[in-house]
């Protein structure tokens, strides 16, 4: 059973456009929602994270929007650049954070 559902599986965006990746969860015990960025041949790296007590968090061109009642959260990449081309994973954990549940990943391609 997939604890965190992620869509789309792949995304192609023009340079300068907005990339949007969506995730949904069921377990209301989740209280930490990180996003990871993975380049080919590398491990996933933390991009940005949010807790459910805020509805939005912004770091540079990256924004997480969080809807607690709908149990959904999304990553927005503004002014997408070719260097943003990577696989993005959403994740969720609860409490002390030993168990992370990952989405299935979104392969983002930004066309120059």
């Amino acid at each position: 059973q997939q604890q965190v559902k992620q869509s789309p599986q792949s995304l192609i965006v023009q340079k300068g456009g907005i990339s949007i990746i969506n995730c949904a969860y069921e377990n209301t015990a989740f209280d930490y929602f990180p996003w990871y960025q993975q380049f080919p041949g590398k491990g996933p790296a933390l991009l940005i994270a949010i807790r459910p007590d805020v509805s939005e968090k912004k770091e540079g061109r990256f924004t997480i929007s969080f809807n607690k009642s709908a149990k959904q959260f999304s990553l927005h990449i503004m002014d997408s650049q070719p260097g943003d081309s990577a696989t993005y994973f959403c994740a969720a954990s609860a409490g002390t954070g030993n168990q992370f549940y990952f989405g299935t990943g979104t392969s983002l391609t930004v066309i120059p």
């Binding site: 209280d31 930490y32 990180p34 990871y36 993975q38 041949g41 590398k42 491990g43 996933p44 790296a45 933390l46 994270a49 807790r51 696989t87 994973f89 409490g95 002390t96 954070g97 030993n98 168990q99 992370f100 990952f102 299935t104 990943g105 392969s107």
Partner: protein
């Protein structure tokens, strides 16, 4: 000064062999993990150790045996390798507590022929 380092980066071996992957972290974290990433990029947790004690052991064949000699090291030994074991294996670490993200190594690509 890589935070989470794994060796080897690539491992090509034949079915039936036994192999090990090593992981070390210099972040001072107390918890380490092994994840498996399949060809569809799905990340699946295999094991988690906290201060050398096994705390997560997902449904993994018992041919896989983790060993943690100290809290900075977590190795993975695989016996009798099978074709289906081909994947990328990631080591990760974090400090137990809220809002503690995982720090991943760069992976070991295992190919079983």
């Amino acid at each position: 000064d890589t935070a989470v380092s794994q060796t080897p980066k690539y491992l090509v071996t034949q079915m039936g062999n036994d192999k090990s992957i090593k992981c070390e972290q210099n972040l001072g974290h107390d918890t380490m993990y092994w994840y498996k990433q399949d060809s569809k990029k799905f990340l699946k947790i295999m094991f988690s150790y906290n201060n050398k004690e096994l705390i997560i052991n997902e449904t993994v064949p018992n041919r896989f045996s983790p060993k943690s000699p100290d809290k900075a090291h977590l190795n993975l030994h695989i016996n009798s390798l099978e074709l289906g074991d081909s994947a990328v294996y990631f080591c990760a670490s974090n400090q137990v507590g809220p809002n503690s993200p995982l720090h991943f190594g760069n992976g070991t690509r295992l190919t079983v022929t």
